[in-house]
């Protein structure tokens, strides 16, 4: 399968959820030193019916078509999904989502957004629980 299939090019040229949120509850940023890619993800977590959900999300940064398309697709998919589900997403989920056969050197690009997203919701969540339970 072609790595630059139409869906990937479409998300790359017209990224969804690109930009910043006015008041995110969770943010994270990663820098991939081998290719100079920078990715930032901002999330607004709110209480859903039964558990916290991703109420809104934006990504920004610069990177290759694979990392940008991966971020665009991923943000679209996790919108309004429970945070607990986001934390369970696997690399395989991203590969299936992209639907392209990635060469080994591009795997890192594809997974950067998921890494940043999980870091964002994970990091601040533990901090919050720690604060709430008075440990911090």
């Amino acid at each position: 399968m072609d790595i630059y299939r139409d869906a990937i090019l479409d998300h790359y040229k017209h990224p969804r959820n690109f930009g910043a949120l006015p008041s995110p509850t969770h943010t994270a940023e990663e820098y991939n030193a081998t290719c100079g890619d920078r990715m930032r993800i901002e999330v607004l977590v709110q209480d859903g019916k039964t558990e916290p959900i991703v109420a809104d999300i934006r990504f920004s940064g610069e990177g290759c078509a694979i990392s940008q398309a991966s971020a665009s697709m991923l943000t679209e998919r996790v919108l309004r999904r429970p945070v607990s589900e986001v934390l369970r997403l696997s690399p395989q989920y991203v590969f299936d989502m992209l639907g392209a056969s990635l060469t080994p050197s591009r795997v890192k690009c594809a997974l950067l957004p998921l890494e940043v997203l999980q870091k964002a919701v994970l990091k601040e969540k533990t901090l919050e629980t720690a604060e709430r339970s008075g440990v911090a």
């Binding site: 630059y4 081998t34 290719c35 100079g36 610069e62 990177g63 290759c64 078509a65 694979i66 060469t103």
Partner: protein
């Protein structure tokens, strides 16, 4: 003058598969392709006289020793060393420089001492000096290139002083192709401070142009076999004999020792003092064959061919819309390497699409991240050339770039 199209036949990796596209190899700066002569020399060692060196009285071991030391002689001749003992075999350029770090800089330098390096360096000749500043508190100063990648020579007057113990610089940038005038630089440095050691990273110079370490007047020169038609895993540290002779060993064990007793050991003279353990014998033999192959072509002609190809590549690249080329404008001022960016397209994507046509370029920071930061640019695409590069390779690259632009339009 040799014909690149003809010598391509000497390189097995360039033989075109009957059914597919030929390789367009534009990454010789990372590592060069190897001619059959080098592979045969290594093969011959393993298949006919593959014994250890320095140990046997039997004839194949003596032949192995002679071949190993013969390769040292080949390298010494190739770089115009005055004395074969000045050539030490290491693993690669990084290890050659690290050897100097551990055997000399770390014990000898400290607070109050100055080290000068440049913003053109490969990490191999940059990280050791950052580390030396961290652990020994030396003053580290950076020689900055101008916007075309040239080092302004007069800056030496302010950078180098009586306190400067080391100037470590490249003879050819692996990104911009800049060729600092080493002879002139060494002269200037030694005029200000005769005791200052000058270390030259020649990883991108040794493969591509005539090298005369004696004429340079430097103290240490480092390079790797695999960038000059030889095998991976063997490199060279050339050091002025009086300088090397004063250094302690870097690794210990066999072959680097004269005598060992309960209470003491006496080390070998240079270069063997720095070559503990069974060396990469086949590698040295392969490097010797590579050097002879290059000598046969003539290094003046190697340089001329690369200058021609680089001039052609610069002209063709600059004619492509959206291409920005970095480095010196004049091909005379640069080696056979061109770093560039395609407007609006990430270098990764450029390389990925080119790979469909079996065009090999390198993308990223090329182990020279400080240089990219100094130029305020992101990662770049790098095409680099060697003796087997033809104008057809450049044309294929240009066609490939147009296809990249079409893909991401």
């Amino acid at each position: 003058m040799f014909d690149a199209a003809v010598i391509r036949k000497d390189f097995p990796m360039l033989s075109r598969p009957a059914d597919g596209k030929g390789l367009v190899y534009l990454d010789s700066t990372a590592t060069s392709l190897k001619p059959a002569a080098v592979l045969q020399a290594m093969d011959e060692y393993y298949t006919t006289y593959g014994a250890n060196v320095f140990r046997g009285i039997y004839s194949i071991s003596e032949r192995a020793t002679a071949a190993y030391e013969g390769a040292r002689g080949d390298v010494a001749r190739f770089i115009h060393a005055r004395d074969t003992r000045e050539v030490v075999f290491t693993r690669n350029t990084d290890e050659s420089i690290s050897l100097i770090y551990y055997a000399w800089a770390l014990p000898a330098l400290g607070r109050g001492d100055g080290v000068v390096t440049t913003m053109l360096e490969h990490h191999a000749n940059f990280v050791p000096w950052l580390e030396l500043r961290r652990v020994k508190g030396i003053d580290l100063m950076f020689w900055e290139p101008d916007e075309t990648g040239l080092l302004p020579i007069d800056a030496l007057e302010t950078l180098v002083s009586k306190k400067t113990k080391l100037v470590a610089l490249t003879a050819a940038s692996n990104v911009l192709g800049t060729l600092p005038p080493i002879g002139e630089i060494v002269k200037r440095v030694k005029r200000i401070n005769p005791g200052c050691i000058v270390l030259v990273d020649a990883a991108q110079a040794a493969p591509h142009m005539p090298l005369d370490v004696s004429a340079w007047g430097a103290d240490i020169v480092a390079f790797s076999a695999h960038k000059m038609l030889g095998p991976t895993g063997i490199g060279v540290l050339w050091g002025r004999h009086e300088f090397l002779e004063g250094l302690p060993p870097f690794t210990f064990g066999g072959d680097m020792i004269k005598e060992v007793h309960r209470d003491r050991a006496v080390y070998q003279d240079v270069p063997h003092r720095f070559e503990a353990g069974t060396p990469y014998i086949a590698g040295a033999i392969g490097l010797g064959a590579a050097v002879r192959y290059l000598e046969h072509l003539g290094m003046e002609d190697v340089r001329r061919h690369e200058m021609d190809i680089t001039a052609y590549a610069l002209k063709k690249l600059q004619a492509v819309d959206g291409v920005t080329v970095y480095g010196p404008r004049d091909p005379k001022d640069r080696g056979g390497v061109v770093a560039f960016r395609l407007e609006g397209i990430h270098p990764h994507d450029v390389a990925q699409v080119l790979d469909d046509d079996r065009i090999c370029v390198r993308v990223g920071f090329h182990c020279a991240q400080p240089l990219h930061e100094c130029l305020h640019i992101g990662p770049t695409v790098r095409a680099s050339f060697y003796i087997y590069t033809t104008e057809a390779d450049i044309d294929a690259l240009i066609q490939g770039l147009l296809r990249v632009q079409e893909t991401f339009r």
